[in-house]
Symmetry: C2
Subunit: 404 residues, 2 copies
């Protein structure tokens, strides 16, 4: 069995941590000087492992194993959110390097801008043929507005070809990532075998009433759009538990009343609402419930509610056989110290899953903190999970599942 | 009985309407050139009636009856909200002029900035000794920020003394105003005898939860401040009807979730909530109910709610004997076509009520529209109400109620 040099792995992670260091975390926004420095640093690490390393036209860093297959693809992303953590993305990339160093036949990849400074998942979308030139032309930085084309040029990537992954080369894609939640920690577990990446269905509810004077308008005649919004959300709070899945989440992230002044009855209200689950039937049931609630609101209220679909992504289940190898590896390395769990957040793996078998492994997050410089995981859990990953990777390579 | 020249009254109103005309309404913000023009125009009308007219250091226009008492004070305000109506305030001022012209022993007043371009009710507050020089120093225009001192200087009012009303001079204060609601119109009535000006009690509820990832945080562990706000407001919606008065109003004008992004569980929420009633016991009962609801929220929820008192004004009941004269006058002029009703909005009368008997009379608002250029009332209802006012004023002057 391949031996992972966990000490070297942790040393690499901590070296990477110093590029764009911010308190105990990292500030490495996509295509910033620190981000490009980290990509070039990674190229050097990949070459040290004997991989053929390159950075493509969208910033994906790719290390190609020179020997024969079957191959696996292993990786994640290397940029960070602003003033964020040292492990989110970096963990998965350096685990790939660790597996390559241990002699496993893996290609290693750091997908560009999973964090969406310019556009979420543009790296993994590009590598799976889902990013058109026209979209690159239109994208710009969400914080400072710089066009993506300018950033690519300044990073020295203009004119380079963009990588297209060949699914037939790989048996599968593995991604090790921090959990970014507290499910593992709260149960005292040390590894999570991910069942899949949930779909996110997002809606906007626009409620129209009649703006009016808070004092001069009686309760009986007013058309308070804010109150209609509250009643609608309260009904969702009652009904969704009756129809949801075991691990569904639903969230209202934003309520905006117009005009939003203390003495004025709101004439309109906007609600942003979303729900997530890994099972299509559950998602459809939750949407039917939402539509029923909006319909009932329109029957009862003096205000009108309009439901708009903003987006509906598809669930990305992880591959059964790959999950089984992770189960066995986790049980071997940490008996009884792991569980199956869905990923509530999106990852590059959801795009890999469209073209090849894919699986994810979660390491615990201390306090569930992520997208914050205080993000952390115990070093022994980082080491444990890269060992689980290596064991599962070897197991899967030996298995009868065919590439592509 | 004094005969009011209603034709002249309507002519005056329509002449005033042309100063700062905006569509069918008026744009005459406090101390704008059009507003000062209207104040000088009013001085001329007051002098025509034989009153001693002046503009004081805060912009109050005052016409003093030269003959013996007992006297009444009659008036309202003359500036408008931005791009607003022709009657809001102007009606009460020109009704005073009409009564003076009919020979009644009335002083007439147009209080400055009831509409609060610089500070709500600064004119009536100044005239009742509630406006300090220090506050004038601090005030500025809410739209463009010009300091009040600058505006007073540009209006030529710098250095002028400010009027202090002598309560002992008056038996009472009458204010005719448009209803700015639909209570009269919806009942087919033509006049409203105001029982008093409601108190407004304003609160801010701050709810603290834990900001977190909408997908990665389970429903069981999340501390969603927005959801706690919704449940709290839904509880208010259920409980307030059980404890309110017949004409109470309660309004949530603003809900703000932080950070307000679709995929982030709100870590905090701010709610601005107010209720209004004319009866202190009812107000206290509503506040006790609100506190009970907040207390129960803190017992049940994983978020904490903090109730902050922003302001509590006092109800301003109208004077019994003055209301009785208005009742009789309304019944004489429009049998069965009037009713008693509270004022849900604030008026200069609430400050007059602190120093002398005060009463208000409402004319119907077409469609309840106000603070909008489409604001309007049928001319026959304007004429009717000034006749009611004159009749009631004479009746009250003859009565045994002493001045001051």
């Amino acid at each position: 069995m391949a031996q992972v040099d966990t000490e070297r792995f942790l040393k690499d992670l901590n070296e990477l941590r110093r590029i764009g260091q911010f308190k105990t975390g990292v500030h490495r926004p996509t295509f910033s000087p620190e981000d490009m420095e980290s990509r070039h640093w990674l190229v050097a690490r990949l070459e040290e492992c004997g991989l053929e390393a390159s950075i493509d036209g969208i910033g994906n860093v790719f290390g190609r194993h020179k020997g024969p297959g079957p191959h696996l693809l292993v990786g994640s992303h290397i940029e960070t959110q602003n003033q964020a953590g040292w492990l989110d993305g970096a963990l998965g990339v350096m685990s790939g390097v660790a597996l390559a160093r241990a002699g496993l036949p893996v290609d290693v990849i750091a997908f560009a801008d999973e964090e969406g400074h310019y556009g979420s998942f543009i790296g993994s979308r590009s590598a799976t043929g889902l990013l058109e030139e026209g979209e690159i032309d239109r994208l710009s930085n969400r914080y400072h507005g710089k066009p993506l084309r300018d950033a690519l040029r300044e990073a020295g990537l203009e004119g380079r070809e963009r990588l297209r992954l060949d699914p037939s080369r790989y048996k599968g894609f593995f991604e090790l990532h921090i959990e970014q939640g507290t499910q593992l920690e709260s149960r005292g577990l040390r590894a999570g075998v991910v069942t899949g990446i949930v779909a996110i269905w997002q809606f906007r509810i626009l409620i129209t009433g009649m703006q009016d004077h808070a004092g001069g308008t009686t309760m009986a005649e007013r058309k308070d759009a804010g109150l209609a919004a509250v009643r609608l959300l309260a009904r969702i709070d009652q009904e969704f538990p009756m129809v949801c899945g075991e691990r569904s989440t639903w969230t209202c992230g934003r309520i905006a009343l117009e005009p939003g002044a203390p003495s004025i009855i709101p004439g309109s209200a906007e609600v942003l609402f979303q729900f997530r689950d890994i099972d299509m039937e559950t998602l459809e049931r939750m949407e039917r419930t939402l539509r029923a609630i909006v319909g009932e609101s329109n029957r009862r209220e003096r205000c009108t509610a309009e439901l708009q679909v903003m987006s509906r992504s598809i669930p990305s289940p992880c591959h059964e056989a790959m999950m089984a190898t992770l189960d066995r590896a986790a049980e071997a390395e940490a008996p009884g110290g792991w569980m199956r769990m869905p990923s509530g957040a999106g990852h590059d793996a959801q795009y890999m899953a469209r073209i090849m078998p894919a699986a994810m492994l979660f390491a615990p997050s201390i306090g569930g903190i992520s997208h914050h410089w205080a993000e952390d995981t115990k070093e022994e859990d980082l080491a444990l999970n890269v060992r689980i990953l290596a064991r599962a990777a070897e197991d899967f390579l030996r298995s009868n599942v065919s590439p592509g």
